[in-house]
Symmetry: C2
Subunit: 369 residues, 2 copies
């Protein structure tokens, strides 16, 4: 877990802002609370992030020097990509060295730990700045212990039909709606972008697999001491050829009372961008929902109580709303696109459904037993 103070960021996405990999930059821009003074990406220099993310007035610059010359000088360079495998692009090394020499902290969510690089750490020591590797796992090496939830807590996990379709965004939108509704709600970051946004958490995909479930269990317990409604950020998907075991560690580690299934209508195949010639189809929703409930129930009962749909493949609002209605009808579940149209109604449905779950009531009853 990592805490962070308020920062003034320049976000590095050199050449990749419009690519799939820039989901870290996108997440921090949309949901972070830090001031962002510039995006460093020569491929869109002179343009503004608001072209792609309306409401976010952030100039794109071609060089670090331009970012440093901004009226409000940045104090931190944030690495804004999350590529498959999490490696640092070679040609970014020089930019990082320059940033450290200019007295900027460097914050990264890559698998490659920048703080372990001798050249980088020497530069950081020379200027007295800090390198933060969000993906660095905790020293804690514990397997799961079969912990029960605190009576009164309600744990909800976002799962999905693919990775990189919005499980984190959905959890963050639902937290906003929950807080608005007066529910004492905590978001649990389980990936580097969520950690950069919320200032705590663990990147579960970096944890030694023997301790993945134990770490999720512990993190969920931490969250239960911070609030009653616990929204755990999901990772990957249960049917992803590369990441399904990380997904299962979240399902069996957090033993959620309820699941929210995130789905991107219109997407035919899995996100497997590094392998364009391998194709794995997206699962059919009803069977996939039932399978999640069966697999989760091996440890603890749960129910998919709502669908959060990413309708970005339907540019027209009316089309998007029709797709949401169709899927809601076909599955018999409340559905919405909380990122596009807001999550208040969906949260109200989730709240109501969770409060009626027999295993939630049974757990509450333990308090008076």
């Amino acid at each position: 877990m990592t805490a962070s103070d308020s920062r003034r960021l320049v976000i590095l996405t050199e050449g990749q802002f419009r690519a799939h990999n820039a989901k870290t930059a996108m997440g921090v821009i949309r949901y972070g609370t830090d001031e962002i003074v510039a995006l460093l990406d020569s491929s869109i220099a002179g343009r503004n992030v608001s072209e792609w993310l309306p409401g976010h007035d952030i100039p794109a610059v071609a060089t670090l020097d331009e970012a440093l010359a901004m009226p409000r000088r940045p104090d931190t360079l944030l690495i804004g990509i999350a590529p498959t495998g999490g490696r640092l692009p070679d040609d970014w090394r020089a930019i990082i060295v320059d940033a450290l020499r200019a007295g900027l902290n460097v914050h990264s969510g890559l698998h490659t730990f920048l703080g372990d690089d001798a050249a980088f750490s020497a530069e950081a020591a020379a200027t007295g700045v800090e390198i933060v590797d969000y993906r660095r796992p905790p020293e804690r090496h514990e397997t799961a212990v079969g912990r029960r939830h605190r009576p009164g807590s309600r744990v909800i996990l976002t799962v999905g039909t693919d990775c990189a379709i919005g499980k984190m965004s959905v959890a963050l939108e639902l937290r906003t709606s929950a807080l608005k509704a007066g529910d004492n709600c905590v978001f649990v970051p389980t990936g580097q972008t969520g950690m950069m946004i919320d200032g705590w958490g663990v990147a579960i995909d970096r944890v030694i697999s023997d301790f993945a479930q134990g770490t999720v269990e512990w993190l969920t317990g931490e969250a239960e001491s911070r609030g009653d409604w616990v929204l755990v950020e999901g990772q990957g998907s249960l049917d992803h050829p590369a990441y399904s075991s990380v997904t299962l560690s979240l399902i069996h580690g957090s033993t959620p009372h309820a699941l929210v299934m995130v789905h991107k209508p219109g997407l035919a195949n899995h996100d497997f961008d590094h392998l364009p010639d391998v194709s794995f189809p997206i699962a059919d929703l009803p069977g996939f929902i039932r399978l999640h409930e069966s697999v989760a129930a091996l440890i603890a009962p749960t129910k998919v109580v709502a669908l959060a749909l990413n309708t970005s493949l339907y540019p027209d609002d009316a089309d998007a709303r029709r797709v949401i209605e169709d899927i809601s009808r076909a599955t018999g579940l409340p559905a919405a696109d909380p990122v596009r149209f807001g999550g208040d109604e969906l949260w109200a449905s989730i709240h109501q459904a969770v409060e009626a779950l027999p295993w939630v009531l049974a757990n509450d009853a333990r308090a008076t037993a």
Copy 2:
């Protein structure tokens, strides 16, 4: 992956040989090819391993000095336990230091890497011996790529209704039967004990979770270049509160053509020995078999083709055979206890079932397509 030459072992289980934790010692004694000159365990000093494992004439001694004074002096101290969490018991440190000073190599499968301990590595350097940590993961950090099996290969994974009930032993027994039947068969060690026995492999539970499936996929490919019949050692169980995600990384990483389900009749609850007050029941076989096939099919089709039963809770042979028959009838699957009664018949059934699987035939057809 680790290769090892022939060794003369003293196996350390101090105080724990008769406990559940000593499964590493048990596995190496039963299936290893190294000479074992003594068991170092003062709690059974003066007795012989053959009392518990008939046919294995290994004296138990109380001190390292006694082991060193044996007619055939050992050259290696092997740590014979695999406790939950994999930590080194504090009071074993002195024994390890003494062994290193006496010029013994030290081989360990603990999560605690002995080679990273400054005191141990200094002693090893002084006497020129080697510390081998079998659980140390490979430097290779790659996510799964969706690899297809080589045409002609048949990949079989052992899964189970609990951990520590014999998935490795079953795979090793079946390999013996397969080789006897003339099938070119390779065992794939995925845990430290299997690695100590077979001299290669990766302890998957130690791999960073993002790379667990990628590592299993790669290991399976390695095995396919060594033989046609690939028997992958399973880990944990799909319904274990602490280890299910490691199990899934094996199912989705090796994409086995067939599964052999290992089950221990009479066992009521999961192996959760560190938490005696938490209880998770063992799954009901038919539903658990179907669920394995459904979960595996999210990536690639498979079938549970046989049951390998651990009948150790039925001391009487006739009782054990009756239980095997009952379970075979109830599930409609061939069943046997290959460790107790031999695996030849079961292997014949498996061989026949696998050769008829439509996805095996389809994969073979790719060779001529």
